[in-house]
Amino acid sequence: MPQDTEKDSFTVAGREFTSRLLVGTGKYKDMQETRAAIDASGAQIVTIAVRRTNMGQNQDEPSILDVLPPSEFTYLPNTAGCYDAKTAVRTCRLARELLDGHNLVKLEVLGDEKTLFPDVIATLGAAQELIKDGFDVMVYTNDDPIVAKQLEEIGCVAVMPLAAPIGSGLGIRNRLNIRTIVENAKVPILVDAGVGTASDAAMAMELGCDGVLMNTAIAAAQNPILMASAMKKGIQAGREAYLAGRMPAKRFASASSPMDGLFF
């Protein structure tokens, strides 16, 4: 058992990572803050979005690909904003072309704008098509253990259940489901979406998750760079606590000082 989280790693699609904190790159004030926060997070995997040229970006700014160069980071292009399988597949193909054949993608096919919950039926369909087309698919899903298992069985390289709605910061709504998904899984399980603060991230790791993917919890903090550092430590703390094996919770008390030798 590792004595700390330095030597501890997980593997997705043949790539090994020591950082278990994956971060999004949206919602920051500017590219400088983006880079500073991501450095503070220690993340090795960063999600990016693809959008029409001349839109979705300040033209005076450098490209996200220059700010976060592929020499330093593993890209995880996402399909954010896709509400059907076909659009999600097109998005992944464009991303792969854009990134010179990079085939690791984050698939999300959304169900509605209020919850940004996944449409798991469409997600399964898109995942199958992408896998057939040679993609390594890390897939955003709900916290249903059966759906998670089905996504693993069709060949997704990682399954990423939500903790709570994207950007809600509500933390892990259903720990039992996440725990069950982890226990059933042969591929990495990463909590994706809904984390709000460091203790949420630690809790996800204590449930046995291999990692956590977040964006808003860092970018929307009053001090994103400090929160990125908090999240890095929270992930490590939770991972170490999981590996260390926590004490059993007991209803009643148990003294920490010896009863022998009381002099009164």
């Binding site: 949206g26 979005a49 954010a80 464009l94 072309e97």
Partner: protein, 66 residues
């Protein structure tokens, strides 16, 4: 002829290929990917990929997102 680039109408000369369009749009050498009528067009095939009347062209790049 008329085409649509990123959702906007654009008039171009007949017999324009994708390489020419990308030059016209001053995107040559930039990190982009292109779709015509919802089908990917590899960069390697820009030269020689003829455009046709009413083609719907999407030119995308990477942005921050989560």
């Amino acid at each position: 002829m008329q085409i649509y680039v990123n959702g906007e109408e654009k008039q171009i000369a007949d017999a324009t290929d994708m390489a020419i369009l990308i030059d016209l749009m001053q995107l040559a050498g930039q990190r982009i990917a292109v779709e015509v009528n919802e089908e990917l067009v590899p960069r390697s095939t820009f030269a020689g990929h003829q455009l046709h009347e009413n083609d719907r062209i999407e030119i995308i790049h990477a942005v921050g997102g989560g």
